[in-house]
Amino acid sequence: MAKKDKTLMKGNRMWAGGYALTSLKTYKVRNMGIALILAISIAIPTTVFAWTETGTRLAVEDYFNNNAYQFSVQNVPGNPDFSHLFDAQETFQENPYVEYAHITPSTVGILRIDGVTSEWEAYRRTGLNYLLGIKDARVIIVTPDIIDVWSTELTYTGDFSLMPGQILVGQRFIDTTEEVTGIALEIGSTIGVDVLRDFYEPRAALPFDPLELNRQIVRNLTIVGIFDVVRPTVVAQSYPSTFRNNWDPLGAPTGVLGLTDSILMLTDDLGEESVDTITNRGFFSPVGFIRGSAQALNDAGAASAAYNMLSVKNQVQESDDQLSVVGLDNIANLQAHIATYLASQVLIILALPIMVMSLMLTIFTSETSVSQKKGEISALRAKGASFNQIFASFIWESLVLSLVGLGLGIGLTVLMAPLMGSSIGLLTFDIVAYGEFLSKLVIPVQSMALATAIAMFLPAAYLFHVSRRIDVTEIGQPSTKMNYEIPEEVSYRYYALGLASVLAVLVIMPIIIVPSGQTALFEIMIFTLILFGASYLGSRAMRLVTADVSERVTRLLGEKKLYMTQSLRRRKGQFIPLLVILTLTLTTTTMMLIQTASFQDTLTNEANYAIGSDVRIESDEMPFDWIDSFTAYTGVEAATPVVKSLSYIEDEAFYVEALNATAYRDIGHFKETSFVGATSDEILTNLDATPNGIIISEYYGTFWNVSVGDALEIRCTGGSSPVYVDFVIVGFMRSAPGFGMASTRDLLGTPYGAYFDFHPGRGGFALANLEFFEDETGIDTTRLFFAGVTSLDEASEFIQFLEDRAWTDVYTEEFIEFGPDTITGLFLAGLQGLTMISFIMCAAMGIASIALFLGSAVSEREPEYALFRAIGGTKKQVISLVFGEFAGSVMAAVLVSLALGVVFGYTATLLTFGISSIWPILGKVLTYPLLVMFFTIALECVVMVIACYYPARRAGNTNPAEVLRNM
């Protein structure tokens, strides 16, 4: 047994990291290329997620900006014990989703104008007060804070702010005051109010004691503003009117003491004590307005903001059945908006080809990068670097690269997510919206995690390649490896044949299997695979074709031909991947342009059909003859009221849509496919001629086995009770403008109109004559009108009138926007944004891969160029030779991808509708935006060709003496 000292050098653990940095610095271009490509694969999903997350947050914020309060709480009518409300107040003030709550006590006040109004002895809320000369009103006690918030909820004239001694009054208060007192109050008028602090109403038999009302007389109140209610906000809904007879005990009751019949008064004008009394004992329950916290809701997850807000409402409602909660009806819109954003995340799948492409490129370049370092590994081994040290240096290198890639990817996301959010057309965006989106940009944590996971892909690829390489690398390997690829002698026909069959599958696939929902996703996956296959086959075929062509044009190319032809047939290793990448990027760009343009056109088509006529008016209940006033405006051609009545044949429910057939015939945006077996003119003229005529859906025609001329007895919902009406069938339809699909059973998705409530539900609809229907059912008012105009410009006055009118919504072609703030436009905006992003990324990737591939191709072929120079070629000749070859290849890729892009664009359009939230009634419109396509591709092409020049110049700069000496 002997013990011996052995000296081992354990090595420097830190060396690997330092060496990795040196190595990164040495191969700047290559490493930046790898990082950029990695960044693209990171940026694509992150951008879409950041877009939806930020969009959702903005939608939530928008909702809170447009709605001062989310809901209000007060006692149920008739319960004078307001303590329920005070308990609830504590509950919701502790709730994290509640930003603040405003409590507004209110009671009855009686108008006092000295010398005009007489003294009163008794007051009953439901009495004939106006007849008695008593003008009562609701007195709502507010603070400057509350006034500030309300200013956005109400319309007003004058000021909407209060100083002590000033009041705001409702329009109805002004009107009724004039009725009762004959005095027209206006801004600046001064009045007094007897505020009744205690609720008191003796039983009928008892004498009235006015002292019980605990009256407080407040004088010298100046009216500074008059407000009115024009939209159903939470504030408007929270002060319900009391219905009573004011003048005639036998007349119809009218609403009083509501919000517009009220006086807004500051606490200071009454004093704390009075306010306290009113709060606890006033005529009306105080109203608690709840403002949700956009911040807290967003922080808790924007996607569930609407649900969380609803849960607050439910919590209050369930805590006490003596409380009535008003509001949050419109939160459904917010929820729909959020849901559309979430649904639009599926757009990621359209960018799948780019993601896969960049990941493939990452693997490929990392592989080349490692294999090019074989000599370096060998040298390091000779210098005593251990397996672990070399391995670590590579891993460090890849980690730094992936970190840079991650940073770049996040940077790209920050730049591009707002592009999606602010896109307003094909390759156009709104700079203001961009800035707004950028300032609010949020990248969700989950997508950051995903981004990091994708970034880790690079070290993983390195890990795989390096461990394979170091093992086989021995000490003393040459630093460069020369090998000669055998020229390819396959006929391009095989590739062309392969390409044709792949494309055939592509075109047939969406026709055989209808893409919708899950199927569409699956088909998009196959689509992506085919895209890759086609690009591969296309670029191989094109390369051989180019070689053949250059062989034939001897006279043009001269002696270059010999080299070019062989060179083009060779070099599969470098050129095929590059060509595939270029073809892929250009095809993807072309395809997405077509897809987006087609989607937009289809959507416009759908929108116009859904609106039905030039102008679609949804108003409050108006008599039919309202349309007579329309013709007074210039540009209005014809109009018709549309009555919608839920009707039945046995248990089958559908809507009868009664309208003026001639007017509808003249103004409706009909399509050839609308009616069955006849034109719209014929069939609607026929309907007009048959008073009890009806046009039913093709589906019902078959379902009930009826034909034209058959009678149908339909139970329609009349003005007050169901009415049985006998109709005669005059025709059948598939769909109709303004309504949608005649039978809902023919719907395979949600049509455009459904998003605006244009589309009848249940079994669908039938068209009938308005006059006949009015006679039968007694219905003489409606909320829907169609109007035709000569042009929107000429009828601008008419449209302006409708837009200014309260409770009225007007829809025209111009009104339907596809901006990202509408539910229907969101998907389109996302698609447009994605197209733009794809364009940028594809161009970046194309250029990066040209730099990477051609750069390494040139360095590998240096001996050849050197040889050229050595046998008498000039520098210029080498450049033109190499540039010709490279640029030729790029042009070949452009040609192939234009052709492929058109075919893929067609299928992509069909598939996009499969995943979009809108199902087109009229079929898809295929649009080829030739000009945009031409310019985009030309731009990309020019940049790529320019990018080819640099490696060519490097080839020209080859020093034959140096290269050949080292051979």
């Binding site: 011996k4 420097n12 040290q389 003393g476």
Partner: protein, 342 residues
Amino acid sequence: MNTIEVEEELDLYSDLPDDVVVSVNDCYKIYKAQELEVVALSGVSLQILEGKIMAVVGPSGSGKTTLINTIGGITKATVGKVYWANLRTDITKLSERVLTEARRNFIGFHFQLNNLLPHLNAWQNVELAARIAGVPRAIRKDRVDRLIKMVGLEERKRNKATTLSGGEKSRVAIASALVNLIDTEGKGLVLCDEPTGDLDPETGERILELFQELNETIGTSFFIVTHSQQVASKADVTVEIRDGVISGFHQAGIDLDELDTTRIVRLDDKHRLPMPTDLLDLAGDPREFRITYVDKRFILEPQTGDVIDAMRLKKSRTCRVCGSEIPGGKFICPNCGSQVTV
């Protein structure tokens, strides 16, 4: 530099002389390439002595590079032992990690291809091996400066490797090979594979002079694989290798044209003696020899014709029983049937 203690049960190498740096004992190296086995080394034994320059000459494919890789511990011998003086043990059983660590301050490499990293300058290339080994900065700097001076590259030390001339690259490479050996009191070994392969004779000469100079000043041993007469002439010992077998040793500088006058052949571990092919050629490539030992000399007489077959044909016998003749190749008497016994 760390010192570790390893306990060993038996010191097999205790009787090796102290001046042995590396000893190769009866090594075989068999490569397997697609079902085909290639014997690159076939029972090679040699010892590299401290402070000596040993050259290996032999035709291409004779196993020179395999031998150098086996000595350097880069490839492991299929059979046989390789002893390293710094570990005082056989390295063929050691793990890659221990080997790498032990190699750092024991063996330096110098290849025809120089193995310089193109993105580093001359100074950094020399320093790299010391960096990898974890030599502290101050020591490292001192060593590199000394080496750069020794190889005469002070003027060019900031130049990138790609801008150096062939001779300069070679100088950087040798300095780099020595950077961890320079302070280890002898017992270091530089393995050189065709060190002057791509240099012109004059530059080659200067590099070789540098080798000799370094060998004398630092005391490092050199093991040089070469085709070059020039190199072989500078060596203390030259080894001839042919078909994976060491076919001869030569003391001191040799002349490739007169190898037969200086050659010493050594029995291998199985008492076999390799025959120098140039001498066989001279003798008309005989296959058989008569060997005799007379007057303290072994005499080999080439046998012409097929000895064994001739013996078979000619040797007929007389039957010991009946006396009739038994033909050659037969062992039973055709007359009486009795068996021939020896």
